[in-house]
Amino acid sequence: MKPFDYVRAASHGDAHDNAARIIAGGTNLLDLMKHQIETPTKLVDVTRLDMTEIEEAENSVRIGALVSNSDLAADPLIRERYGVLSRALLAGASGQLRNKATTGGNLLQRTRCPYFYDTTQPCNKREPGSGCMAMEGQNRILAILGTSDKCIATHPSDMAVAMRVLDARVEIEKPDGQIQLLTLDELYRLPGDTPHEETALEPGDLIVAVHLPDAPKGKHVYRKVRDRSSYAFALVSVGAVVHTDGGKITDAALAFGGLGPRPWRDTEVEQTLIGEAPSEALFEKAADILLADAKGYGGNDFKIPLTRRVLKSVLGELTGATQ
């Protein structure tokens, strides 16, 4: 690890430090610092700040940026109303890691692309302009949607997939104290020509909370497919809230993990489902739309048929139509 100065923030003011990197749970940042992929010269520890509450407001819930992944998953209100979020959190990492991982840090965790982690290899995300080894290399875990010819990394968070289903907004405090509310599609950038620019955050910005509006109507499911049944990142995951009434799908919200550089949501898929009677043919059509632009890179080609099967299975479970 490269040397750095350490400061424990006593106020939000201390955290808005252009020269410093924020550390919360540290479970991603320290891992990357040990590999010298991240080399900050100053860390500001925000863990003693007042961002640890889950508060209920009118038509929404506000989750402090420091709420741990385990506290969030176990919270009675989240379990009751936002089951997809509890489920996604519980499907991620391990008990130890979830105790340390925070809501803000989880959103900003970086890709698990093997070449991003291997500092002896070129990687446009780690070293802009150096090339992308994954394109023709080991890309089993990498993206099939939203990629560019510069980067095919996925965003690894399970939590963020559920938050995308739930139309979460991220509350960001700017250094001048102004508050910005961003959807996840606004927070996460697609790679394009600049895969190293991952989010809309600017130096000195502090994530203070995540807001969830009232949950959409319906049953909640988070289905994660991975190489072992626990303690592994998703190959493909689906977060879904779907409601049926009178034999028709009336409400649907779906997002996908393991497919793209951000939790992937395609409202066209939902529009295809809403108002229709659940059937195998309808689910196939939804999968066709989701995967219309999907592109495999060899090692991850399997994700295209796998996504189709997982989507159909989840929709079957939620509508009681098929399995």
Binding site: Y6, R8, G26, L30, A74, G95, Q96, S230
Partner: protein, 182 residues
Amino acid sequence: MPTLGSAMKITLNVNGEARSLDVDPRVALLDALRTHLDLTGSKKGCDHGQCGACTVLVNGRRINSCLTLAVMHEGDEITTIEGLGEPGSLSPLQKSFVKHDGYQCGYCTPGQIMSAKGMIAEFNMGWPSNVTDDLGTAPDFTEAEIKERMSGNLCRCSAYPGICHAIREAAPDEGTIEEAAE
């Protein structure tokens, strides 16, 4: 002006004792415990949060001590395997690991036991897991639940059946998170 990353004087509360040390900010809690405080029970397997050998309790909760900085833990209550029990006065979990052969080489064992201690407290608070059927009702302490909740602790010797038996039998004798934090 001190040089970048110069050492800091900190006090850590470990197993109920206040311990002062000078550490470079880069020092992980695990390394502070092992090399600065000579508490070598906590083990380093991977140093990257992947194996659980370094598991300790901080304020009663299990964490990976390799992925956190010592300087971040001033004011916290840290419990290591040495704080659970010593030869002659083993804790229920420690005794049960001995009785059920919950290890072979023993390298992962301190982490397994600390993780089990934290896990039982989580279970007692009614926390669900990925294999809990219904998020609305308290889960049963089944083998499936134990396996899922302990998946953050790897055992190279694959002593898993013994580990599982040991945890199952000791669980009723282990306390809640409040007790663990004391």
